[in-house]
């Protein structure tokens, strides 16, 4: 059986189609927001929030709430808003606040699962949550619908706010002086990031989610010189790496999350090389 035949066989299963759909949507959302996050030196907010989402997941699991997204989503959004609303005057700086929140939530989540865990295989559960090894293949129709709605909201919101997001990211002082509601804009972006992280948890898991946010943007920056170009290319890289990664993981029986992230890392390395070569050519031409 060729790889293509094997793939089309798998595509007949609805859970595979669901996984591909959700994977592509999450990758699109996170790579769109990635450029802004990287440039605002907020690469770690994804990591911090994903740990908060893990803590919320543990609470939902212990409380026996099957629709755990309904617990995780609001908690993570609140955490994101709290992190961004503290402002510069706060006594605890941004990186410290992210570190505290993320470590505390991680510890609380693990403790809850360890003490009250219904199942005996705790380390297995934790691994699954952090690395998302199988959960994307067990998505329910409800999960898929929720992901689709959130993705449309995030992509639509990003498109409508694109010009303002650029202004705030490029030069916050200028945006503020221009009378732009910078705080409100930051708040909306924070909420979108939180939503993407909530949805992304089910794809690559909490730990590897940062890679999904950071890699496509950084890879696109190697070869594109405009913000629009970087944003579009990051979206393309994110989506194609997610789909290709899932296809590989189906065919080679590798863990989904790690495969996607390694795919992203590979594209980053490749575009680094392309950028370097092109830079050299340009230099020689001058």
């Amino acid at each position: 059986m060729t790889a293509l035949e094997q793939l089309s066989l798998y595509l007949a299963y609805p859970f595979v189609v669901n996984a591909l759909l959700v994977g592509a949507l999450v990758a699109l959302c996170s790579s769109l927001l990635g450029t802004t996050l990287v440039m605002k030196r907020l690469s770690y907010i994804g990591d911090g929030l994903s740990h908060v989402a893990f803590g919320a997941y543990a609470v939902a699991a212990v409380a026996g709430i099957t629709r755990d997204l309904l617990v995780i989503a609001p908690v993570t959004v609140i955490a994101a808003v709290l992190l961004l609303r503290r402002g510069q005057s706060s006594k605890v700086k941004g990186d410290a606040a992210i570190a505290m929140m993320s470590v505390a939530a991680l510890a609380a989540g693990y403790l809850l699962m360890n003490v009250f865990g219904a199942r005996s295989n705790i380390s297995g559960d934790v691994c699954t949550t952090l690395f998302g090894s199988t959960s994307i293949l067990t998505l329910t129709v409800f999960d898929v619908a929720l992901c689709a709605v959130l993705s449309v909201a995030v992509v639509g919101g990003f498109a409508l706010l694109y010009n303002r997001i650029f202004a705030v990211t490029f030069d916050e002082g200028f945006a503020r002086a221009s009378g732009l509601p910078v705080d409100r804009c930051n708040l909306i972006v924070a909420a979108m990031i939180a939503l993407v992280i909530v949805v992304g948890m089910s794809l690559v898991g909490a730990l590897l989610l940062s890679a999904l946010v950071v890699f496509p943007a950084l890879a696109a920056m190697r070869v594109c010189r405009t913000f629009k170009g970087v944003t579009i290319l990051a979206g393309i890289i994110g989506v194609s790496c997610a789909i290709a990664g899932m296809a590989v993981s189906i065919l080679a029986s590798t863990p989904v999350g790690s495969t996607i992230v390694l795919m992203d890392a590979g594209v980053f390395a490749l575009l680094c090389l392309v950028g370097k070569l092109r830079g050299r050519v340009l230099k020689d031409g001058r």
Binding site: F166, A167, D171, F174, S178, G179, T226, K228
Partner: protein, 227 residues
């Protein structure tokens, strides 16, 4: 009628005053130069005027039908993010955000204004260049285009000639003179006293936590109590 005025203004951070007793008014075609040593409160004052930080006490307001969105801002050039992926065109067009109102996207008029601003500072040929790869003088010209794209009635300049070679500084001052003739009001915070003074109508010196006018320059009025 003054575009921007303040009387007995006190500026500072977190309730701690840095400069007190600031009173001035800037109207059409006037240029106020704010000078002083490092740490004398020049930047604090400019940030307060731009609404980035709240005043501690005193009065600060717009006149002559001005609004905050009609203030163009040229930040210190060396603060630009070195590795930010953006073209010159994207940076210039972002000057129009203050005119967006509730619209999500830029209109044809917005694009025309940004293009006009780029042409005016002679940066139109750089349109598709990456902003990060430009020289300091070129970046400053693009920032000026961004400020002019919003068609401001008042222009706030923060150390406009820092990091520029003499030729670029001269070009910038010529541009400012042109704007003054067209009736734009200018407020400039600067170290470059010798370069800026010939263009200023008023000079405000910040020292020891107080503001005082230095009179007698160019077309200067130097009227210490200018409301």
């Amino acid at each position: 009628m003054a575009y921007l005025f303040c009387s007995d203004l006190c500026v500072g951070y977190a309730g701690k005053p840095v400069v007190e007793g600031i009173s001035f008014a800037v109207g059409a075609g006037e240029m106020l130069c704010i000078v002083g040593e490092n740490g004398s409160g020049k930047s604090t004052l400019l940030k307060t005027l731009l609404g980035l930080i709240p005043p501690l006490s005193g009065r600060l307001g717009f006149g002559g039908g001005m609004g905050a969105q009609e203030v163009g801002y040229l930040p210190q050039g060396d603060k630009a993010q070195r590795d930010f992926p953006a073209s010159v065109w994207e940076v210039a067009l972002s000057g129009r955000v203050s005119r967006l109102g509730s619209r999500p996207f830029f209109s044809k008029a917005d694009r025309a204004a940004a293009e006009g601003a780029l042409a005016r500072v002679g940066a139109l040929p750089l349109r598709d260049e990456a902003f990060a790869t430009l020289s300091g003088g070129q970046q400053q010209r693009v920032f000026l285009a961004r400020a002019l794209a919003s068609e401001p009635r008042l222009l706030a300049l923060d150390e406009p000639t820092t990091g520029l070679d003499p030729e670029s500084s001269e070009t910038l001052y010529r541009e400012i003179d042109g704007l003054l003739t067209e009736g734009v009001g200018v407020i400039a915070v600067t170290h470059d006293i010798a370069g800026a003074l010939p263009h200023a109508t008023q000079v405000l010196l910040l020292a020891d936590g107080r503001a005082s006018f230095v009179g007698g320059y160019a077309h200067g009025t130097g009227n210490g109590g200018a409301r």
